[in-house]
C-alpha cells in the first residue's frame, strides 16, 4: 500500500519590537536572567497587560506580506495552563478571533502555493534551565528565567497542504525569508526568534480522510524540520504497515539521534479553558491603520527580486547577496538614487564585493550612501582609479566622509595625456632594458614600468591609460 504524508506547519516568529507585547520590559536577547522584567511580565499581584502598538503594526505587516485578510476586530484570549515558565498561569493569545485570516505562501521552485489558515498574536513564555537532567523529570533543580516571558510572537498556521519534507523545509525557509526581509522578525534561529511545530500524519494514497497526526515541537533549523518530518513519516508508515495505530501525541526531535521522541500523550488534550481576556479591549484595526502600515512597510521581497534581476539586470550572485542582506540592499538602492548616472551594475559590484568584505571585517553593516555615491561618481568620471577606491574603503567603513577621503587623493587621478606621456617617457628613459624586453614580447614587464609611473605620480596616474601609453610607445619605438 502506498502512503502519502499530510503536513501542516505552525510557525512562531518573535516580532522585532523593542519591548514586550504587554509591558515595557526589553526584548533584547542574552541579558542576565530575570533582568528584562516588569511587574507585568513577572505576573506580580495587581499587574495588568497593556498592548504594544508596534507589535500590532508588525503583525499587520506580516499579514499584508502573505496576502491575508486583516481582521478589523480581533480578541485577546487567555489560554489557561500551569507551568513554571508561564508566570500568570495563562498565556495571553488569540483564539476565536485572530488578527489575520487566510493568506498564502508561494513556493516558486515547486510552482506550488500553501494556504495559510490564520495568523494570531500571542506572548512567549519564559525559559527553564534544568540541573541534573535534560528535562524536568530527573532534574534536581530547575531555574526559571522570565526574560523571554511576554516577548511578542505571531503564530502562522498553515493549512495541511504540505506534502513532503522538502516542501516543509522550503515553506519554513520562505516564511523565514519574507519575515526577515520585511523586518517583522530578526529571523535568528539560534536565539530562538523563529521556531516551527510540525503536524504530521499519513494516509493511504487516494483516501481523503486524514490519518491520526502527531506534533513535532520546537524545530529551530531548516535541517531539523526536513529530517524530523522525514523520520516521522517513515515511522508512521512503519507502524501502520505492521498493523499498529498512530497515537496522537506531542514529540520532540532529538537532533543527535535523528529521532522523534514522544513528550506526552495528547489523548486527553489539555483543556485550555479559553475566554476573552477581560483586561484588554478588543483589538480594532481600521482601514487607515492598514494603510499606514502599507505605506511604511518595505517592498515585498519578490518585487525587489524582480527589480534587481529584470530592471537593474544585476548578476545573480549580486542579487543573492543583496537579497540576504537588507542593509546592503538599502545601501545599494540609496546609492543608485543619488548617483543617478552611474551604472547600478558597477555600484552593486563594489558593494557586494570589496565593500562587503570590509564591512564584515569591521563588523559593521553599512556606510553612508551619500559618501559612497560620490566615490562611485568620481570613479565613473575616472577622477579616481579602482585602486584608489579600494584603498579608501576601510576608512569609509570607519565613517570617514567623502570630503576628507578625496583630500587624501589630492586632485585625484590624473588622466591628462600630456602629463601621463611625460611620466611614461621619463620612466622609459630610465629603464631601456625593460623597454627592450617588452619589445621582445615580454608584455608582462610593462607592469614594472607601470609601477614606476605610479611611484613617480604618487599613485595618481590613471593605470589603464598608462598601460596603453607604455605598450603603444614600446611598439612605436
Amino acid at each position: 500500500m502506498q502512503f502519502e504524508p499530510v503536513i501542516g506547519l505552525e510557525i512562531h516568529a518573535q516580532l522585532n519590537t523593542k519591548s514586550k507585547l504587554f509591558c515595557s520590559a526589553s526584548t533584547e536577547f542574552g541579558a542576565n536572567p530575570n533582568t528584562h522584567v516588569t511587574p507585568v511580565s513577572l505576573a506580580l499581584p495587581g499587574a495588568l497587560p497593556v498592548l504594544n502598538k508596534r507589535a500590532v503594526e508588525l503583525a499587520v505587516m506580516a499579514g499584508l506580506a502573505f496576502g491575508c485578510d486583516i481582521q478589523s476586530r480581533s480578541v485577546f484570549a487567555r489560554k489557561n495552563y500551569v507551568y513554571p515558565d508561564l508566570p500568570k498561569g495563562y498565556q495571553i493569545s488569540q483564539f476565536e478571533h485572530p488578527i489575520c485570516l487566510g493568506g498564502a505562501v508561494v513556493l516558486a521552485e515547486l510552482n506550488k502555493t500553501i494556504d495559510i489558515t490564520r495568523i494570531h498574536m500571542e506572548e512567549d513564555a519564559g525559559k527553564l534551565v534544568h540541573q541534573g537532567a535534560n528535562g524536568i523529570s530527573g532534574a534536581h533543580a530547575s531555574y526559571v528565567d522570565l526574560n523571554r516571558a511576554g516577548v511578542p510572537l505571531i503564530e502562522i498556521v498553515s493549512e495541511p497542504q504540505i506534502q513532503s519534507p522538502k516542501e516543509a523545509r522550503l515553506y519554513m525557509e520562505r516564511v523565514h525569508h519574507i519575515l526577515k526581509f520585511m523586518g517583522v522578525c530578526d529571523g535568528d534561529l539560534e536565539k530562538g526568534s523563529f521556531r516551527c511545530d510540525a503536524n504530521i500524519s499519513v494516509r493511504p494514497v487516494g483516501q481523503s480522510a486524514f490519518g491520526t497526526r502527531t506534533e513535532v515541537k520546537n524545530l529551530n533549523s531548516f535541517r531539523s524540520i526536513e529530517q524530523s518530518v522525514q523520520y516521522e513519516i517513515d515511522r508512521q508508515i512503519s507502524v501502520i504497515s505492521s498493523g499498529g495505530t498512530i497515537i496522537q501525541q506531542t514529540m520532540h526531535f532529538d537532533e543527535e539521534r535523528g529521532e522523534t521522541i514522544a513528550l506526552r500523550s495528547k489523548e486527553n488534550a489539555h483543556d485550555y479553558r479559553y475566554f476573552p481576556d477581560p483586561d484588554l479591549k478588543p483589538l480594532i484595526v481600521t482601514e487607515d491603520d492598514i494603510a499606514s502600515v502599507r505605506l511604511a512597510m518595505r517592498e515585498h521581497p519578490d518585487q525587489v527580486l524582480n527589480r534587481l534581476t529584470t530592471d537593474r539586470q544585476l548578476p545573480s550572485h549580486d542579487v543573492k547577496v543583496l537579497m540576504q542582506d537588507v542593509p546592503l540592499l538599502d545601501l545599494f538602492e540609496s546609492t543608485c538614487a543619488i548617483a543617478k548616472h552611474v551604472s547600478p551594475k558597477m555600484i552593486s559590484k563594489w558593494i557586494v564585493g570589496e565593500l562587503n568584505a570590509e564591512l564584515k571585517l569591521a563588523k559593521k553593516t553599512t556606510v553612508k550612501a551619500h559618501d559612497l555615491a560620490q566615490i562611485m561618481q568620481a570613479l565613473a568620471a575616472k577622477k579616481l582609479s579602482s585602486k584608489m577606491v579600494k584603498d579608501c574603503l576601510p576608512k569609509l567603513v570607519q565613517g570617514v566622509s567623502y570630503d576628507i577621503l578625496s583630500d587624501m587623493f589630492g586632485d585625484g587621478q590624473v588622466s591628462d595625456m600630456d602629463q601621463l606621456h611625460g611620466w611614461v617617457d621619463a620612466v622609459m628613459d630610465e629603464h631601456p632594458d625593460v623597454v627592450k624586453k617588452i619589445q621582445g614580447g615580454k608584455v608582462a614587464s610593462a607592469n614594472f614600468l607601470m609601477g614606476q609611473v605610479m611611484k613617480m605620480s604618487q599613485g595618481r596616474a590613471n593605470p589603464d591609460a598608462v598601460r596603453r601609453i607604455i605598450l603603444d610607445a614600446c611598439a612605436r619605438a
Binding site: G46, D271, R273, P278, K281
Partner: protein, 490 residues
C-alpha cells in the same frame, strides 16, 4: 478624627503637624479600643517618613491640598515596600515592589497611607469572616459582622480611626459593608479608577472606591484617585472628574428617581423598607419624582455574577503557584505536588470554592452552557439598565436586604451569603456608579444603608444627589460607641 477638610485645615494652619496627626492615627489603630481587628498592619515607617516630607513642604508653602491626611488601604492594594496579602496565607510575607496608581495619586494629593485593612480573602465574601487574620467586628455591635469583603475599611472609618479609607467592590464589597457600618461607600463607574496595583479578583467587575463618614470625604478621595491610566487598558478618559465640586443644593429638583419593585419586596427587612420609604418621601419634598419600576432580571443577574466572577477569578488566581513569591510549600516531591500543596494550604475554603466553580464553568463542554450564556445575560442586564436610565436619572433601593448579621450566622451557608448581594451585584454587571449612604438605624440599632445608582459616568451627579440627601437625612445618630477621651485630640 475629623473629616478630610477639617484635618487638612488644622495641618495647613499649623495647629498640628502631619507627623502628629499620623502618630495619633497610628496609636488609635494599634490600640484598637473597640477590638475591631479592622487593621492588619500599620506602615509606621512609610507613614512617618511621608509625614515628615509633607511637614517640610508645609513649612515651605509647597504642600498639596490634603497633605498629612491619613488613610488606610484594603489589603489587596499594592504599596511599594509594604506587605500586601489579600488576607490570604498564600501571600504570606509578600511585599510589593510597586505602588498602585490609585494610591500613588492619593499620595500625590497629600494623603498618607498608614496601614492595610482586613478583608475577606481575595475579596471573596460578604462578612469579613473569611480572613487569615481573623474576622472583623462591626463597631455598632461587635457581635455582628461589618459586611464584606471590605469589612476592615468600612469599620475603620465608622470607628473614626481615619477620615477615609479605600476599598474595592466587585459585587458590592464597598457598598454592603458601608451599609452595615453606617458610613458612605462608593463604587465609581467601571473604568473611572485604575486597577493597576489592585490584586485582581474579577477583572471586568472590580473597582476601587472610597469610604468616608460623609459624601464630601468620599468625593474628595474619588477625585484624587480617578483618571485614565496608561497602565490599565480598561481605564477610561473622564469628561468630568471634579467630584469634590458641589453643583448645588438643588440637585434633586426635577430628578426622576426609580425604585425597583423587586428590591422592596418581602424579602427585604421591614425596617429597611420603611427607612427607604422615608427617603423616597423626602426626595419628593425636594422636588424629585419617584416611581417604581420592574427589574425582571434580579435573580438572573445574581446567577450570572456567580458564573462570571468565579470564572475570571479562577484565572486571575492562577499566578499564585508558589514559584515566584508568597508562600511555597516546601515538603513536596515534584513540581506539580509543590503547586498543589501550596494552593491547598494557601487558599481558604471560600476561595477554593470559587476557583473550582470558575474552572468548571470555563471548561470544555460547559463553557457554552454557563460562561457564554452568562455573558449574554450580562448584556441583557446592561441593556435593561440603559433603558431605565432613559426614564430615570437615579435609581434608589436598600443596599442590602438585611442589616448586619451575627458573626458565624451564615459563614457555613454560602448561598444565603451570596443572596445578601442581590441589590448590589447587578450594578457591577453593568459597570454603573453606585454608592451606599446611611439613612437610619434599625430597631436593633444597626445602620440601614440606602443605595443610589447613577448612569454611566454620571458619578458627579450621583454624588450631588447624595450630598443633598445627606443634609436632609441628618444621620446624626452616629457612632454611639465610645472613643477614649485622649483620642479626641484631633
Amino acid at each position: 478624627m475629623g473629616n478630610i477638610l477639617g484635618v487638612a485645615k488644622k495641618i495647613a494652619n499649623k495647629d498640628c503637624s502631619c507627623e502628629q496627626v499620623v502618630r495619633h492615627a497610628l496609636a488609635n489603630v494599634t490600640t484598637d479600643a473597640l477590638g475591631l481587628n479592622a487593621v492588619v498592619e500599620t506602615f509606621d515607617d512609610i507613614a512617618l517618613e511621608t509625614a515628615k516630607k509633607w511637614d517640610q513642604h508645609i513649612a515651605n508653602g509647597t504642600a498639596p491640598a490634603y497633605a498629612g491626611v491619613p488613610f488606610l488601604i484594603k489589603d489587596n492594594m499594592c504599596l511599594e515596600g509594604a506587605h500586601v496579602t489579600c488576607c490570604s496565607a498564600i501571600l504570606t510575607g509578600y511585599k510589593s515592589p510597586y505602588t498602585s496608581t490609585a494610591i500613588s495619586r492619593a499620595m500625590d494629593a497629600g494623603f498618607i497611607p498608614i496601614g492595610r485593612t482586613n478583608m475577606d480573602e481575595f475579596a471573596m465574601g460578604s462578612s469579613n469572616e473569611h480572613s487569615v487574620y481573623g474576622p472583623v467586628s462591626n463597631p455598632w455591635n461587635t457581635d455582628y459582622v461589618p459586611g464584606g469583603s471590605s469589612g476592615g475599611s468600612a469599620a475603620a472609618v465608622a470607628a473614626g480611626m481615619v477620615p477615609v479609607t479605600l476599598g474595592s467592590d466587585t459585587g458590592g464589597s464597598i457598598r454592603q459593608p458601608a451599609a452595615y457600618c453606617g458610613v458612605v461607600g462608593m463604587k465609581p463607574t467601571y473604568g473611572t479608577v485604575s486597577r493597576y496595583g489592585l490584586v485582581a479578583f474579577a477583572s471586568s467587575l472590580d473597582q476601587i472606591g472610597p469610604f468616608g463618614q460623609s459624601v464630601d470625604d468620599v468625593a474628595i478621595m474619588l477625585e484624587a484617585i480617578c483618571g485614565q491610566d496608561p497602565n490599565d487598558a480598561t481605564s477610561e478618559k473622564l469628561a468630568v472628574n471634579a467630584f469634590s465640586q458641589h453643583v448645588s443644593m438643588d440637585a434633586l429638583s426635577g430628578k426622576r428617581i426609580g425604585v425597583a419593585n423587586q428590591l422592596m419586596s418581602d424579602y427585604v427587612d421591614a425596617d429597611i423598607r420603611s427607612a427607604v420609604e422615608v427617603v423616597m418621601k423626602k426626595m419628593v419634598d425636594l422636588g424629585a419624582t419617584v416611581d417604581f419600576y420592574d427589574f425582571p432580571y434580579i435573580e438572573e443577574a445574581l446567577a450570572t455574577y456567580y458564573i462570571l466572577a468565579p470564572a475570571e477569578a479562577s484565572s486571575n488566581l492562577s499566578r499564585f503557584d508558589g514559584v515566584r513569591y508568597g508562600m511555597r510549600h516546601m515538603n513536596a516531591d515534584s513540581l506539580g505536588d509543590m503547586i498543589k500543596k501550596t494552593r491547598q494550604h494557601g487558599f481558604g475554603d471560600e476561595v477554593k470554592r470559587r476557583i473550582i466553580l470558575g474552572t468548571y464553568v470555563l471548561s470544555s463542554g460547559y463553557y457554552d452552557a454557563y460562561y457564554a450564556k452568562a455573558q449574554s445575560v450580562r448584556a441583557v442586564v446592561t441593556e435593561a439598565y440603559a433603558k431605565l436610565f432613559r426614564e430615570f436619572d437615579v435609581l434608589c433601593s436598600p443596599t442590602a436586604p438585611s442589616t448586619a448579621f451575627l458573626k458565624g450566622r451564615h459563614v457555613d451557608d454560602p448561598m444565603t451569603m451570596y443572596l445578601s448581594d442581590i441589590a448590589t451585584i447587578p450594578v457591577n454587571l453593568a459597570g454603573l456608579p453606585a454608592l451606599s449612604m446611611p439613612c437610619s438605624l434599625s430597631s436593633q440599632g444597626l445602620p440601614i444603608g440606602l443605595q443610589l445608582t447613577g448612569a454611566w459616568f454620571k458619578d458627579h451627579d450621583l454624588l450631588n444627589v447624595a450630598t443633598v440627601l445627606e443634609d436632609v437625612l441628618g444621620f446624626t445618630q452616629r457612632y454611639p460607641f465610645s472613643v477614649p477621651e485622649e483620642n479626641h485630640a484631633i
